[in-house]
């Protein structure tokens, strides 16, 4: 690629512009056709320019379960999905509870993607995620972990959790908590309600989430230590977070595209591709989550990308593992919400770029004159069929499988380099 390039005819903040890239930096942003004529020019016919996105909650399965996903395929899906920053959860095998695992992950990511996307390991809060003893959090921080979480196995012991928050705070690591009361949620396969009763499946009540949300809020308030609440799925949690923020409690929260779009009816035919934890809830939860995102009560949107092998999902419902593969489809799904007028492009940029940058102190430059090129060119009108072949992730486990989605990343620049370009067929 030439070191000078014009990216022509793209929308930036609702304005059609040409972008002049020089040595990886944005030298000029101006009206179409007003830049130098003698440079290489790629015209995008009105596609959208978005800053590179951050996904703060991803399961890459590497080390240990590479048949589900590995760092290479996961990051490949990420970059094609518009993500330049990927936070990898600690539930690998072995668990990321010591320096050597963190180093392995970082080395592998750098080896395959020296120019990005960038991997940010999340440390296990307790050794082996067992909820008994703290992991060496200073060691993990120094090795390169960005945050800390006990992932899908929330710490039951409130005293230990309190001490973990304090200790992690000293180490400069924000605690991300999967909010689920382990007793109320035990053995559950879907949302508890009319549908679970009809299907004869053990349901997970929304209060299993909300109860843990309140514990976390009260601890954060008492200790005055920030906490981040993972994948919020229900209205009751939103109400609690709203209350906490109004009180000035240092709490932030995330949700996922699936909680913004789909309700429990997706599992009415025992569709294991829609089996996820927390489970898909109801219409009123969806509406509450959308409003919470618009109003900033929920700060960020993550994929909770949870790839599984096809045969693992091809079993009776309750036996299937939880999780939806999300990196490939997230942006298209969020675009559906923009088309529905439920979210704006600004909401997307705020929830997947600005806010994650703030919460995790990432150096996000945005798209501005003089800044390094960190952006995606996204064609909102390009339809694509979701098939095992079009998904870059090894995880084909998404309810979108077989459906047509709108919106695709055409190219992706990270730190001034073109790291992804959509192959034309």
């Amino acid at each position: 690629m030439n070191s000078e390039l014009i990216i022509s005819n793209v929308y930036l903040d609702n304005e059609l512009v040409d972008i002049y890239l020089s040595k990886g930096r944005i030298k000029e942003i101006s009206a179409p056709g007003t830049l130098r004529e003698d440079l290489e020019k790629v015209s995008y016919n009105g596609a959208l320019l978005l800053p590179s996105l951050v996904d703060c909650h991803v399961h890459l399965r590497d080390p240990g379960q590479e048949y589900k996903e590995d760092i290479y395929t996961g990051l490949k899906a990420a970059v094609g999905g518009g993500f330049s920053h990927v936070f990898a959860m600690a539930n690998t095998s072995p668990v990321n509870d010591n320096e050597s695992i963190t180093t392995y992950m970082l080395d592998k990511a750098r080896k395959f993607f020296p120019k990005g996307p960038n991997l940010y390991p999340i440390a296990a809060l307790t050794k082996g995620l067992e909820g008994k003893e703290l992991s060496p959090l200073h060691e993990l921080k120094q090795a390169g972990c960005i945050a800390v979480s006990n992932d899908g196995i929330p710490v039951k012991d409130n005293e230990l959790f309190r001490r973990a928050m304090e200790y992690a705070h000293d180490a400069g690591l924000l605690v991300l908590d999967h909010c689920e009361d382990p007793y109320l949620a035990k053995d559950s396969a879907m949302n508890e309600g009319k549908l679970s009763a009809r299907l004869g499946l053990k349901g997970q009540p929304t209060v299993a989430e909300a109860l843990q949300v309140s514990r976390d809020i009260l601890l954060a308030s008492y200790l005055n230590i920030p906490i981040h609440l993972c994948h919020i799925s229900c209205e009751q949690s939103v109400e609690l977070i709203y209350w906490a923020k109004k009180k000035g409690v240092p709490v932030t929260a995330e949700t996922c595209p699936h909680y913004l779009l789909w309700d429990e009816l997706l599992v009415a035919q025992y569709n294991t591709l829609a089996k996820v934890n927390p489970p898909l809830r109801t219409r009123s939860d969806i509406l509450a989550i959308r409003q919470a995102v618009r109003e900033g009560i929920i700060d960020i949107i993550v994929t909770d990308h949870a790839p599984h092998a096809d045969f693992e999902k091809d079993v009776p419902f309750a036996l299937a593992p939880n999780g939806i593969s999300g990196l490939d489809t997230a942006l298209s799904l969020l675009w559906e919400l923009v088309v529905m007028d439920e979210l704006s492009v600004k909401d997307i940029v705020r929830c997947l770029h600005d806010k994650p940058g703030e919460i995790f102190s990432l150096n996000m430059s945005g798209i501005c004159k003089g800044g390094v090129a960190n952006f995606v060119v996204f064609d909102p009108n390009l339809s694509w069929e979701v098939t095992p072949n079009t998904l870059m992730s090894k995880g084909k486990n998404t309810p979108c499988l077989g459906k047509t989605l709108k919106g695709k990343v055409l190219s992706h620049f990270i730190d001034g380099n073109l790291v992804y370009k959509l192959e034309e067929d």
Partner: protein, 307 residues
Amino acid sequence: MKWSHKHLLDIEPLTREDIFLIFELAQRFEEVNLRPIKKVPTLKGKTVILYFSEPSTRTKTSFDIAAKRLSADVFSLATKGSSEEKGESLKDTVLTLEAMNPDLIVIRHRQSGAARFVSTKIKCNVINAGDGWHAHPTQALLDGYTLSKEWNNEFQGKTLLILGDIAHSRVARSDIELFNKLGTRVRLCAPKTLLPRHVESWPVEVYSDLERACDGVDAIQCLRLQLERQEAGLLPSLREYSREFGLCKRHLILANRGVKIMHPGPMNRGIEISSEIADSRESLILDQVNAGVAVRMALLHLFLTVN
């Protein structure tokens, strides 16, 4: 005769006509069961596999006898020693069974939705013989058939009480669906811990007091109490359960004259039902077992000869 169903997974897709057709056929087959030579050649050359990956005596025996009386070749797989137990997935197990070209598979499985799952994997007919807490359509049909004989096919204006562990009962779910279709009013009675959430949205009346629940009912289906419910913290003790929810003679006085007692079995005498009632003349418990064979013969006949 019209039968357009490929599988019997739950009661939901059955019309009233379907249900009465099954009852009518069952009556004809019941006559076969009374003959000295209890066999007809209807299903000669047809292969039926009974795949029961959960312990069962009555349902399995009932299907076995039903198929054999229709001259089908029956093969059954038991829980112990099944390849699923050796770690094979349900999908692979049923694909393996299908490769042997059966005409129909009867499946019992502890997972809700397992019968539907199987039906999406294979081409032959599937009959659900009970999947988790979800459905047990042949039990509901035999319950309906048993009462149809007592009630002379008049289901409307009658009230059925289902008593016991509704939350974990596939029998309750299928019974509710069936008797609703037939126009019978359904009441439930159980402690709240054994009722599903939002049960008030079901087409039933819910009672927590057994005496009140029995007032004016025409039949009572008493469900088996699984002993592990106590361990799960849903009940303090079997003693307390049987004192509050165990069906005994004094309840029958409150019911309508001619009240009938049913139980899908196996019974815990003295817990959910008093021994006296189980053996009383109001009890249809053994009639249910008898009806089970006839109803299953009717279903096998419909699936394997009509469609």
